[in-house]
């Protein structure tokens, strides 16, 4: 049954891809050859984690328009070639291959999530085209046992950095001594955050009184929350994506659990609020950026984004925006406009000023920058502070 399902899904995706291709082809035909720089945009535009992909792409497209309006990079216009991975890892790899071999891009931006990004990296190494993810936070996206992955970059910080920051925040802000962890068993992201949180929290003298995990697309959190309710703890750490976290928060609050709930950047979606409704109280998460930031560069970005999309940009919009500018900056500095040239320039980036903070690329190809805590206080109002 499952195999048939997958087969049909693949067929559907294939058809959609054909449709996508013809669209992409038309876009390319308008720009005269030789005067453009092709950059691949390989994102989750539909499916489970579409919110992240769509948000990243909004930021990327806005940045590309700004760059093109200002005369492009070295007089050449940026041409984005955009594909939808349907939130499917295998599809992401196929599309990355297509971008690198057929569309002749100098860099591929995306996917948004770690698992999908990692899946495209072997292809990036083979074709010597850098892959830059705006929001793949897993520790091993850019490094593995053999050291740094040459063609992998990101403009966000890593999971262990986030989990550690959340544990420190739990102790500092809520004087937490006991915590429970509920993580998503289906992805590395959640595990990475949970591991870092656990290590930092217990090293600081705290105790993890209970830990459980849920399966992908879980609906029912009543049982596990009832179990937690029977124990004494100060905070819940829920490092998951908004799709399940929204339901989990609502069910926890409905059951009368009043302790603060902490999470990671996976919470950053309006869907979290839609699912949790009025129960979105005393919930805080580590994030890359906050719309409350008064920095003029950030405010300028917010105004421009609002004018275009009529809503405040979220962290994924901001990361997408920064990533496009970051790539364009590297393409401009590159000695030759090939994947290898751009890769060298990316790795040498120093003090790049983005809306998610000023960052340099370190020896592990991570963007080194500060974490922001965003949350909803006991009254449900949006708050934020820099960590």
């Amino acid at each position: 049954m499952k195999r048939i399902l997958t087969g049909l899904a693949a067929a559907t995706v294939g058809l959609a891809m054909l449709a996508g291709c013809s669209g992409g082809g038309n876009g390319q035909a308008q720009a005269p050859a030789g005067d453009t720089i092709n950059i691949g945009v390989n994102f989750e535009l539909s499916g489970d984690v579409a919110t992240y992909g769509q948000a990243n792409v909004q930021g990327i497209e806005m940045a590309a328009e700004e760059i093109n309006a200002a005369g492009g990079v070295d007089g050449k216009q940026i041409n984005l070639i955009k594909y939808d991975t349907k939130s499917d890892t295998a599809e992401a790899t196929t599309l990355a291959t297509k971008l690198m071999t057929q569309d002749k891009v100098v860099a591929v931006i995306g996917p948004a999530t770690s698992g999908a990004t990692k899946a495209t990296l072997p292809v990036a190494g083979q074709n010597k085209i850098p892959v830059i993810s705006p929001s793949a936070t897993a520790d091993d996206v850019t490094v593995d046992d053999k050291g740094v992955k040459e063609y992998a970059f990101r403009t966000c910080y890593s999971d262990s950095f986030q989990g550690t920051a959340a544990a420190e925040y739990a102790v500092k802000k809520f004087s937490a001594k006991k915590a429970v962890i509920l993580r998503d068993s289906s992805n590395d992201y959640s595990k990475g955050l949970a591991d870092a949180f656990r290590t930092t929290f217990t090293e600081g003298g705290g105790e993890i009184v209970s830990e459980d995990a849920y399966a992908k697309a879980a609906d029912n959190f009543n049982a596990v929350m009832t179990k937690f309710k029977g124990q004494e703890f100060d905070v819940i750490y829920l490092p998951g994506y908004y799709t399940e976290a929204g339901k989990a928060i609502k069910q926890a609050r409905d059951l009368g659990i009043t302790q603060p709930i902490l999470g990671g950047d996976g919470f950053d979606s309006p869907v979290l609020g839609e699912q949790a409704g009025a129960q979105l109280k005393d919930v805080y998460f580590t994030n890359h950026y906050s719309s409350e930031d008064q920095d003029p560069k950030v405010q300028e970005f917010i105004t421009a984004f609002k004018a275009k999309h009529n809503t405040d940009p979220n962290a994924f919009n901001a990361l997408g925006y920064d990533t496009m500018k970051f790539v364009a900056d590297a393409v401009g500095r590159a000695s030759e406009q090939t994947g290898e040239g751009v890769q060298k320039a990316l790795a040498e980036t120093k003090d790049f000023e983005g809306v998610t903070g000023t960052f340099s690329v370190d020896e592990n190809h991570n963007a080194v920058k500060a974490v922001v805590f965003v949350g909803y206080d006991q009254g449900g109002a949006l708050v934020s502070e820099k960590g």
Binding site: M1, L5, S46, D219, N220, T226, K227, G246, K247, L255
Partner: protein
């Protein structure tokens, strides 16, 4: 103790949903020996109809529930007439494969129209957001509504099957379709009616789940559909009381596994139960061994 009581309340609500879906499985199996794999997707369609009524048409909960049941009734009959009726004389495996095809058709048609993203039911009427404290046990209005409506529908179903003429026809056809035909019963209409009732119950379950979890998506019918199938087999497929027993048993065991062990093992335990039942009592808990006539 309080925690156990709370977990049982959680299990009761979940079990009601499984029981409602399992009833449709078991009735259809009872009458044409078909495991209707599209049944879980009828439940999904019910959830979307409820969503559309409550969010876009701004109808009340009860009206939305009734409309979703009506739409699913029609959908169930259409599926039976279009996909299964022409195959009445074919092998059982042909019909089974068709059922899987119908299931995929419903899932991806829905995805085509509404997209793959999760939808939320939004803000519910205030009376549904209440909850009550009994000792240390917190019971939400939503749980009361789920159990209440499920029990009501099951009573209505019992009445239809036991006390009405069409119910009598259903029982007759399930025992022996040929003999029933000789007695002047319209077998085709009776089968359609069975699909209609089963689908209406699944539609109701869909709306109840939408309200309970506040999140629906086009593939939501897959796992609950399979679990309801396990529930039906557990109680004895083809037997209405068996589906009820199975539904509540699966709901309770899932909740207890998550509450006292780990939520990761809930699905594993449910399917392990299926295997054990099939090995040790293939006819289900309430099933009797019927000797096959040759």
């Amino acid at each position: 103790m309080e925690q156990l009581a709370q977990q049982l309340v959680n299990g009761l609500a979940l079990g009601s949903i499984y029981a409602l879906i399992a009833l449709g499985y078991t009735m259809v199996y009872g009458i044409i020996q078909l495991i209707n794999f599209a049944h879980g997707d009828v439940y999904m369609v019910g959830a979307y109809v409820g969503y559309f009524c409550m969010v876009h048409l701004k109808l009340g909960f009860v009206e939305s529930l009734v409309i979703a049941m009506a739409v699913c009734t029609v959908l169930g009959v259409v599926i039976e007439r279009v996909a299964y009726k022409p195959l009445r004389k074919s092998t059982r495996i042909a019909v089974l494969i068709t059922a899987i095809g119908v299931s995929l058709l419903l899932e991806y048609t829905m995805m085509f129209f509404v997209g793959a993203d999760t939808r939320t039911y939004g803000v519910l009427p205030p009376f549904m957001e209440q909850s009550f404290q009994f000792g240390g046990v917190l019971v939400s209005m939503k749980q009361i509504i789920i159990v209440g409506i499920s029990v009501l529908l099951m009573v209505v179903l019992q009445y239809i099957v036991r006390r009405t003429k069409i119910g009598k026809a259903m029982r007759a056809v399930s025992q022996d379709a040929d003999a029933a035909r000789l007695m002047g019963i319209s077998v085709d209409n009776t089968i359609s009616f069975t699909f209609a009732i089963g689908s209406a119950l699944a539609g109701a379950a869909g709306v109840l789940v939408g309200v309970y979890y506040n999140a629906i998506n086009p593939l939501m019918g897959l796992l609950p559909g399979l679990k309801a199938f396990v529930a039906a087999v557990f109680g004895g497929i083809g037997l209405i009381p068996g589906a009820l027993l199975g539904g509540y048993f699966i709901g309770a065991s899932e909740t207890l596994v998550a509450g006292y062990w780990s939520s990761l093992y809930t699905d594993a335990v449910v399917f392990a139960i299926l295997i054990l039942v099939l090995v040790f009592k293939p006819t289900g808990l309430l099933g009797k061994n019927v000797r096959e006539k040759v």
